[in-house]
């Protein structure tokens, strides 16, 4: 997957986040403070604009720039978390002009590790981690089963959507939602929902990749 596709991934993510901003904000209003869609839309619009201006040369540079933009513009908890995730992924890619399915798997794993380390959330805490963790796992399983990058990305996107659904019965233990305790049960986690969108965008742009 080359730099053009990586930029397409960011652009598609920005498009999906904008289209779903109200939904994300509604989810956050139910168990948080009602700004997740607004925050993330601000962040990814800034990231997409940055790519237009600076046109980074490598996939790693794209992800590093997105990480910085998200940290500088998003605010809230999701900004530093997603920003750290993208930067961690970027580090694993180095200068490579083209990224293999195996490399992408390692990058996604590094992203989740970075997010978990910064936010100290684990599976079952009702956060973005509950969508990201199963997605990364499904990606690996698919690759090991012989899928290509596109196939593995599709598996990851599907797993993220299942992971999102799995957050509904959970009681939040991290982030703002934890303040509502039992009242969070029965709601989707907004960050898990946005994580599913990011992986959905990856599946879309990578469709038809040779890998």
């Amino acid at each position: 997957m080359d730099v053009t596709r990586f930029r397409a991934w960011v652009a598609e993510t920005a498009r999906l986040v904008a289209a779903n901003a109200d939904r994300l904000t509604r989810l956050d209003a139910a168990i948080g403070d009602g700004d997740h869609g607004i925050n993330l839309n601000r962040g990814f619009q800034a990231a997409a604009a940055m790519l237009e201006e600076t046109a980074p040369a490598t996939p790693g540079a794209v992800l590093a720039g997105v990480g910085r933009a998200l940290i500088s513009k998003t605010g809230g908890a999701s900004g530093p978390l997603y920003g750290t995730g993208f930067r961690a992924a970027a580090k694993t890619l180095g200068e490579d002009p083209d990224v293999t399915g195996v490399q992408l798997g390692a990058a996604l794993a590094a992203a989740v590790a970075g997010i978990r380390q910064l936010g100290a959330a684990g599976p079952g805490d009702k956060t973005m981690v509950d969508a990201l963790e199963p997605a990364v796992h499904a990606y690996q399983v698919a690759l090991d089963a012989g899928a290509d990058l596109a196939g593995a990305a599709r598996a990851a996107a599907e797993a993220a959507v299942r992971g999102l659904a799995d957050t509904v019965p959970m009681q939040a233990r991290k982030g703002r939602a934890s303040y509502l305790g039992p009242r969070t049960v029965g709601h989707e986690d907004p960050g898990a929902a946005s994580a599913a969108l990011i992986l959905q965008a990856l599946a879309t742009v990578s469709a038809g990749e040779a890998g």
């Binding site: 009602g34 607004i38 925050n39 530093p80 978390l81 982030g175």
Partner: protein
């Protein structure tokens, strides 16, 4: 949504322009989103920087000035500030004695201040954080995000600010901030929701006879929904929760804080109920604040904060302060 604004995404910038026009004592950096004292840093003094989402006014910008904060970093409404602005403010006010970050315990605030502190450290500025987490409506646990920072933030900023003017060092400031936070507890009640300008709709719905118990300051619902009860019961619920968490005795500082949409006459009615409850429990109100000090946009309701004073804390509370929102002694 009915608000005196020009456009939802211009609210924070317009409000900063208003603060700049209203308060010559402040230097307002609208572009980079931070507020400092007009005088610049005080050499040799530990500098205090706080910040958080906008919508809590007068917190934090209204507390910038002699005896309190050196800088405030307002984020978007109810959204923590980003590391860039915190870093810029931190470097702008460092007087060589280090910078104290007063951070309300919300994941977003904690992470963004943490990143700014790391970057400031890379640039050679000593930064230490003090976390405020006084809200007893939230169970304290290492397995969760822990308690929210609410009313005690005002007390930490005032008391540590006074000590900083008197020359306390960075380590001492951290210890004092922790002491004030440890001695303080808060509980909030909402009668109405509020509307984030960019969202356009209220965060939740309440029937005419319902209230939210244990709310924070971000328009979020509380721990539980209850019936609209007399002010005495509201005060009793808040104080019982505080007392159960950290038994009250001796001299205390009491803040009955309006959440933004509740008129002062009601806050005084609540204060009377609070005073009655406390005297019934042999607790003495040695200092008090009644008004809108840490708000949640136009939300109707109030929060009660109680700090168990020591002679030293009372003395620092009485020390001169000169900010737009809190002023005495000069």
């Amino acid at each position: 949504m009915k608000k005196l604004i020009n456009a939802p995404d211009e609210v924070v910038a317009d409000a900063l322009l208003g603060m700049a026009a209203a308060h010559p004592s402040l230097s307002v950096n609208v572009a980079d989103r931070y507020i400092t004292r007009a005088g610049g840093p005080t050499p040799g003094k530990v500098s205090l920087v706080s910040g958080g989402g906008s919508g809590h006014e007068p917190l934090h910008g209204g507390y910038v000035g002699y005896g309190m904060l050196d800088a405030a970093c307002p984020g978007e409404v109810f959204t923590s500030p980003v590391p860039d602005q915190i870093l810029a403010a931190t470097k702008a006010v460092d007087g060589g004695a280090g910078v104290l970050h007063i951070v309300k315990n919300y994941t977003g605030d904690v992470l963004n201040f943490q990143m700014a502190a790391e970057l400031a450290g890379d640039d050679g500025v000593r930064v230490e954080p003090v976390l405020v987490n006084d809200d007893v409506a939230v169970e304290d646990s290492t397995w969760t995000a822990g308690r929210r920072g609410t009313g005690a933030t005002v007390l930490v900023e005032k008391i540590v600010g006074a000590a900083a003017e008197r020359g306390i060092d960075l380590a001492g400031a951290v210890a004092l901030g922790r002491e004030v936070n440890d001695r303080s507890r808060s509980f909030g009640v909402a009668l109405t929701p509020c509307t984030v300008p960019a969202a356009g709709k209220p965060g939740f719905e309440l029937a005419d006879d319902e209230i939210e118990l244990g709310v924070g300051i971000h328009g979020e619902p509380g721990r539980a929904r209850g019936r609209l009860v007399p002010a005495k019961e509201v005060a009793g619920t808040a104080l019982a929760a505080i007392h159960a968490d950290a038994p009250l005795s001796g001299d205390v500082l009491v803040m009955v804080n309006g959440l933004g949409g509740t008129p002062l006459i009601e806050l005084y009615v609540v204060f009377a109920a609070v005073a009655e409850w406390l005297s019934g429990h042999n607790v003495t109100i040695a200092r008090s604040l009644v008004g809108n000090y840490i708000t949640s946009l136009e939300m109707a309701g109030c929060s009660v904060t109680v700090c168990r004073l020591t002679p030293q804390l009372a003395d620092l509370w009485d020390a001169p302060v000169e900010t737009p929102a809190l002023r005495w002694g000069r």
